[in-house]
Amino acid sequence: MPKFKKNSKTSEDIPTAALPDIIFMLLFFFMVTTVMRETDIMVKQKIPRATQLTKIERKSLVSYIYVGEPKNVSLYGSEPKIQINDVFITEEDIIGFVNTEKDKLDEVERDQITMSMKVDVDVKMGIISDVQQELRKANALKILYSTIKRVAEK
């Protein structure tokens, strides 16, 4: 005979009265933090890691350039491509893109435009360098290599 009998009178249910409150709390959290994705990224994006990260102060000044191997290899091939907004472009179109992005900004801020380069780790430097040469011609000189924080390995 067991010495300690289980007190079978205690209810085993988890009180669910507060459940809606908790769910609502989570819901509001995600609603507030959500940023609706405007573009459908069609290239592979495995962002490299680094330690010395700078945070962008003004998000309105940022435009994005995605570079990577297309996800749909059978349609676009496996060579890395440049994607802007929703389309693939070639290097020559970058100047035009920068100018349309600059037109969206105030005149005083046009030189401050920051191009955020979201580049896959498997891409080679050749294409990046071509993009940068075009950005120089377009006078968009601030670039940000988008990276993820690396946790110190010790």
């Binding site: 995600f30 498997d122 120089r136």
Partner: protein
């Protein structure tokens, strides 16, 4: 009620992308002006720390194959910046303004006449050249190591950790003053050559 909330919750869970707008900032040089003549500035080899990467992701640092980690590279760059081999009057002034533990670092690791004169403008330049076939991963890694070396120097000048240095908020006047004090006299002289 809870069901509807659940449904919405799941919808937002799926659509959420936590925005990460962080990265390594780089300022490209302005496009070459065809009207302006190329200035030929002679900088002695000892004042340039050269890092070369080939298309097989092998490194050549200061003319020798390099196989260490990015941390080793960062330390080499840091030693190069804080060498004070033949300081100019400006360089001596900077040396005198350093905190004691950095002076000790200079005297233990630096003072090499074959390396940079002092950290002032054009007296120590970190140069990096990659090939077209170098992987982006390595490129970012080296860029990171070079920036880390400078940030460590700046941070220890004002007596904070590198992490604290990176999170300095420049819209706050006190932190901005700290930022300017850390950087004054030691420009972040990173030169990135066009890959060939």
């Amino acid at each position: 009620m809870a069901d509807i909330a659940f449904l919405l919750l799941i919808f937002f869970l799926v659509t959420t992308t936590i925005a990460n707008d962080k990265g390594i900032l780089l300022r490209l040089p302005p496009p070459p002006d065809p009207l302006q003549e190329q200035l030929d500035i002679k900088i002695p080899d000892r004042n340039i720390f050269t890092i070369l990467a080939n298309s097989k992701d092998q490194l050549l640092v200061e003319g020798e194959p390099f196989e260490g980690s990015m941390d080793d590279l960062k330390n080499d760059v840091k030693k190069f910046i804080l060498n004070f081999g033949k300081p100019t009057p400006d360089g001596i002034e900077i040396y005198n303004s350093l905190p004691p533990q950095m002076k000790a670092f200079v005297n233990a690791n630096g003072r090499n006449p074959e390396s940079s004169d002092d950290p002032t403008s054009l007296k120590s330049i970190v140069s990096f050249k990659s090939a077209r076939g170098t992987s982006y991963d390595l490129y970012v890694g080296i860029l990171d190591a070079m920036n880390a070396a400078y940030n460590e120097v700046y941070a220890s000048r004002v007596g904070i950790t590198t992490e604290e240095w990176l999170s300095l908020d420049r819209s706050n006047s006190m932190q901005k003053e700290m930022y300017n004090r850390g950087r004054s006299g030691i420009p972040r002289a990173i030169s990135i050559a066009e890959p060939d």
